[in-house]
Subunit: 552 residues, 3 copies
């Protein structure tokens, strides 16, 4: 039987609470709810009567203690850690079969400790939870995660994998690692452009820079691809969960975009590339296009008005990169096809992001590197259109000026930069737009040569190189000094159904006192300050409201 | 006085109810509300106390029995069925006057049976309901109807016309019948294109095919127009209700688009047509444009963020069809005018549809033929722009590639096709996009001739012909074998004010126990599984919420 | 102690109330709530029982009387009215210091009357309210104001400045006064165009008209700028509040647009202007662009899906006006830059306005002059593109036809015009689009000369001149006859935190009877007529709902 415990819940939104609600759960499982009013004049909060004092009787002992027990036990389990088996492709079952053949036992869980361990990770409520073949819904991702990349777990959530120890490396290796390939290979592209464009010929960039960067990029690409390939083979469930993550899914475009960058940054002229290479690279992008845009159009939980975020630019920019490369290789019509597809969906995405619908993923208020993706698409589109139409004409210049304005718009807010923003591998993907803008400026400067445009080209190239160098330094520092480059990837470890720590108790209380909640909501919005009211009106959007209710 | 009746209401959304609410209405018209909790462990539901047990006193006897009596009587009424008179233009009153003159009686209802019958269809609450000059609001259409075409009545609704017998033919003849004309005449256009375009000249399509199809289309157009003209004359109220139906209103563009198709598919060169024909066909389209786009802009219940659905494409595509024909006839500036108007509103519509705002009409999850309208507009716009600009240039090709991608996007989801989708006349309108895409491909192939493009043109033409043939076969089967091509058109027979079967009782109960409902809602969303939560969050959108409340 | 008072509150939305709620506050501070049902059949409203009769005990005496007392006293205060000091830049504090130095007293409030007066304007709740350096949030503006220009105070609001007397002239002089400059200088531009365009050369407009109008415009501009400059100096707080007003902020583009009009309407050829003039005029527009579009993108309370209104066109059209002038002066690339920025944000704004998201500022149902801003942007964009691309090509004509269609769309609804719309200075800004359309038509007619286009040019010019003359006459009448051209500008005088008249009492009652409110809401939406239901569904949008709750 649980010891008597008393929790005082306070609404986290109310900075200076006008009242507080205390919920006491007695050993007899009776819950008592009291509403205390805080008077600014009075020192002590005093209980105002008549308030509804609800008494709730629970017939089951709280599960809390039991969970703690098994969690404690899980560290002492012997032999092999089976908690990650649920994400393993064949490994888990295969190894089990092997061991059972070896040991001659048919029992899938040979030792009681492991059995108990398994039970610990799945309590009675979550029993049908992690059955194979099912991933969490988009709503669950939104409900369980937070942050601009939906990368941190909300306080009320319990992940399916242990939070307090380091997971196997492959489970911690996210798809966003391909951002590194994008970042480095875009630098190779930049130095090739600086070397070849007439506007920056005066810099006399050595071809060697491009050579070195390209081979580094190619090696990095090979390494990252190999590791992720291992993840696909051994932890397919984890890959599948990344593919269903509303933000992370956009990074599945990254490997192909990075390959396109590599092809474009090739130290030789791209016309020497065989056309089949382009078609092979564009096939997966077309497949992902059909898949993602189809999901937007057909609605449901993946509809654009919900999942749109700056990261979604990655799902659009691939078309333009492909169009750019195709046009340079002489494949004008297929390039125009991808350009058309990209343009249409870019317009839809751009309008959606600018409107900032209340149902969207909440974006960070402070400037986050993710915002720089806004610059990527018009930059690349500008050069792509110039290559397709054969000149840096009005259309290409309109796109270029849009990119320039968005760049200026972000720089103007740079005072907010890096304020409390935590580093992640995804930053690499967020920095390639800066390089793209530098490349577009160099191409533009060749068409409109003047001291101003040339200075702009050189300046933006310098900014791009410095940015990538900075991110590289951070990455190296994190990887080799702090050794936390690959933290536990909690965003793939959320439960299919919510399981909160105080879930049971809270649910029981809510059952009997729904009107208390109504009271809290109406009271809160009634007397709040202006900024609080704002946050309420945002929280009160139906989608978020639904989420909030679905949480515990 | 009604006999004591006891109804146990269960929330239809809760698959495994955690509780149930029983409402007992005593003979003294007192209602008693009890909340029973279902424990999964306990066999019997047991009432949890303290729960609010509300007692409601009603002063009027429930009307239920009386309604049933009159409904039973309505089948035995003599002479003439007057229940459709309310939709008649002059007929109803004229005939009444004639009969009263003939019979020498000034009483409008000469026999008590008819009077009782009339009363049955209008109870005291709905008395001011169907007064002439008023149609249901857009909200009522959304509240009372469901399905992708808003064509079926919700379970809780009672139509103003009898559901259980066949209505007069004219009342069952919808505006969407003009879809047939669109489908057949687009085929005439297709075969004319295949005959004349250089890219498909190798097929040696006989001019006779175009001839036959054109005359069939013209005859069908004459027939459908004549019948619908009769409906306008005799049942103007029904036409007016179709015009206010959020989905059906788009079909009012169909007659004019079909006429444009006929003009374009004319066996002779279109340059021989008099310009006045074009102006006469575009005038109603311009009028409808001004009306519909004005409604979008000025907001209110017809604002685009509510009424947008794929069917709305019909309201945009007419501009492009007109622009295409006009450009071919040498009216380049007026054609450009309609092209501009169409483009601007198409962008708005396209973005809105792609975003899938939570306030939109819910679209079908499975692929429904209505989605193919997405292909129509860019196909037609592509050819129109090619004709206006004089070449199949970059702009026309961008539009064509967009159409091609959307086509591919729908074909990729074809596994969902026809799953539980019921046939309707509107399908004809949904199949003309396939023909438009084939025509655009033939024109594109003439500009970019290659084996691939020619094969594509032939393939898409074959698909279009097979599709139309299939829909034709289904139509003939429905019309002559199953004889259900024209079912009762319930979507025009909704009441201006909701009138549900248990409406009175429910309303009375709700009046006194609004918090009970709150309890139900909050309880439901609290404990649901993920998929339930999803449906809740969709239902909880303000618009739908407003609807749900307005229903009974 | 307050005398017993009884107020009968009625829901303002229910035209024919089915019931009413009476709240009686007894001298003992007990509130009694009764619900009266109105029966249409019964003559007298009769109270239905059993209804919840809630009794609320308040421990503080109502502040009502005290407020009235101080309001009455405020008129009799001596020497100098200090109530406007909070909006003064330095003046307030400076003068206070001066007077305290003169009087030798260090007390900031030398006389008790002024102290009491100050106290009156800030009761205990609002004490931290008007602290300098803080302006109301966007939510507060929406909550406290209503009307298409958010220019009138809601009934429940109490402004920070006295409503019943005339404020200092500078406080009543709004930024929208620059609309006058826009209107008059656009006329100067129009007559210059009519004089110079080949299509309207047959009118033989004398250059003198342009001369006179230009000098009048320049003089008006100088006057308005001088006055507003004084406001910036002496009442900076008021200017700041205008800058944060969601509608009014768009008018900060007006001075620069008016200057661009002056530059463009210069009696000499614009090529004679120094390029520096253009750059100096575009710098503030670029700054405002970065500021406003950045706010849209970064979301929060200023996100576009909330603040978008037709007035927002003013924030976009400046780019096109600048592009137009720049292209005429030979600055083609900078012009294209502003054209690109304008186009992209115009698309976003246009889609947002056409969708009429439920979270938008509610627009007036009747046609309001603000809608004519829809015509401005495509008109100006058309001419700008023609100047940039060097010919009135397809792109320019598409933009022109869009403007023409929107114009026709508004004229078609002209029957609603001026119905209950009150005049304001902002009308001047709303009438310049008509002039822009006339100019665009004259330029278009020069490219496509025909009797029809020339007639259209002359007709639209006449309409524009008549419109401006009408607005001028109204302005003169209001300024010199009725002397109410500059009413108290209440939209800058809202409180940072809501303070309603019965706020305290109502809040206390709501605290104890939240379900009563629920009852009211559900009852209203349940039994309302169709149009009422519509208004409910609009009010029930989360944003508005949040506002409604946040009000008292």
């Amino acid at each position: 039987m649980a010891a008597p415990e008393s929790d005082r819940l306070r609404s986290p939104l109310v900075a200076e609470p006008a009242y507080s609600i205390s919920i006491s759960v007695a050993p007899s499982n009776e819950a008592k709810i009291d509403v205390h009013h805080h008077r600014p004049d009075a020192g002590e909060p005093k209980t105002t009567h008549p308030q509804p004092t609800l008494t709730v009787r629970s017939e089951e002992p709280p599960r809390q203690q039991q969970n703690q027990g098994t969690l404690a036990r899980s560290d002492s389990t012997g032999e092999r850690d089976r908690r990650f088996d649920q994400f393993k492709t064949l490994g888990g079952r295969l190894e089990q079969q092997l061991s059972s053949i070896r040991g001659g036992s048919q029992h899938p869980h040979p030792d009681p400790a492991a059995a108990g361990d398994d039970e610990a990770s799945r309590d009675s409520e979550a029993e049908t939870d992690d059955d194979s073949g099912k991933v969490p819904t988009a709503d669950r991702y939104f409900a369980a995660l937070e942050g601009p990349e939906l990368e941190t777990l909300r306080a009320t959530e319990v992940p399916v994998l242990p939070e307090d120890e380091t997971w196997p490396f492959l489970l911690r290796f996210p798809i966003s690692a391909f951002g590194m390939c994008m970042g480095v290979s875009s630098q190779a592209m930049l130095y090739k452009t600086l070397e070849l464009e007439p506007s920056t010929a005066f810099l006399r960039v050595s071809p060697g820079v491009n050579d070195v960067l390209w081979w580094v990029s190619a090696a990095l690409m090979a390494l990252v691809s190999f590791i992720y390939f291992l993840k696909v083979v051994f932890y397919f469930e984890a890959v599948r969960r990344e593919f269903h993550h509303p933000i992370r899914v956009n990074f599945f475009f990254a490997p192909w975009i990075a390959c396109l960058f590599l092809a474009k940054g090739l130290p030789e002229p791209v016309t020497s590339l065989h056309h089949a290479v382009w078609y092979q690279l564009m096939a997966p992008i077309l497949f992902l296009d059909l898949k993602m845009y189809g999901q937007w159009m057909s609605g449901g939980e993946w509809r654009l008005s919900r999942v749109a975020s700056p990261t979604t630019h990655l799902a659009v920019v691939g078309n333009f990169v492909g169009a750019l490369l195709g046009a340079r290789m002489g494949l004008r019509e297929p390039a125009l096809f991808f350009f058309a597809v990209g343009t249409v969906h870019y317009v839809v995405l751009f309008v959606t992001l600018y409107q900032r619908l209340p149902t969207n993923v909440p974006l960070p208020r402070d400037l986050h590197p993710v915002f720089f993706l806004f610059v990527a698409t018009p930059s690349v589109a500008s050069v792509a259109w110039a290559r397709i139409s054969g000149e840096f004409g009005l259309g290409a210049r309109v796109a270029y000026y849009v990119a320039l304005f968005l760049y200026a718009s972000l720089v103007a807010r740079v005072s907010f930069f890096f304020r409390g923003v935590s580093f992640s591998l995804a930053w690499w993907a967020y920095t390639f737009p800066v390089t793209s803008a530098a490349i577009a400026t160099a191409v533009y400067a060749s068409a409109m040569t003047s001291a101003l445009t040339q200075a702009l080209a050189v300046g933006l190239s310098a900014v791009a190189s410095v940015t990538v160098a900075g991110v590289l330094a951070t990455t190296v520092y994190r990887a080799f000094v702090r050794r936390d480059l690959f933290p536990n990837d909690v965003s793939i470890a959320i439960r299919r159904r919510p399981k909160a720590k105080f879930g049971k108790i809270l649910k029981r209380i809510r059952t009997s006192s729904a009107d208390l909640k109504e009271l809290v909501v109406s009271r809160h919005s009634g007397g709040g300050s202006a900024s609080e009211t704002s946050s309420v009106s945002e929280r009160a959007t139906p989608m978020v409201y639904g989420r909030a209710r679905a949480e515990p």
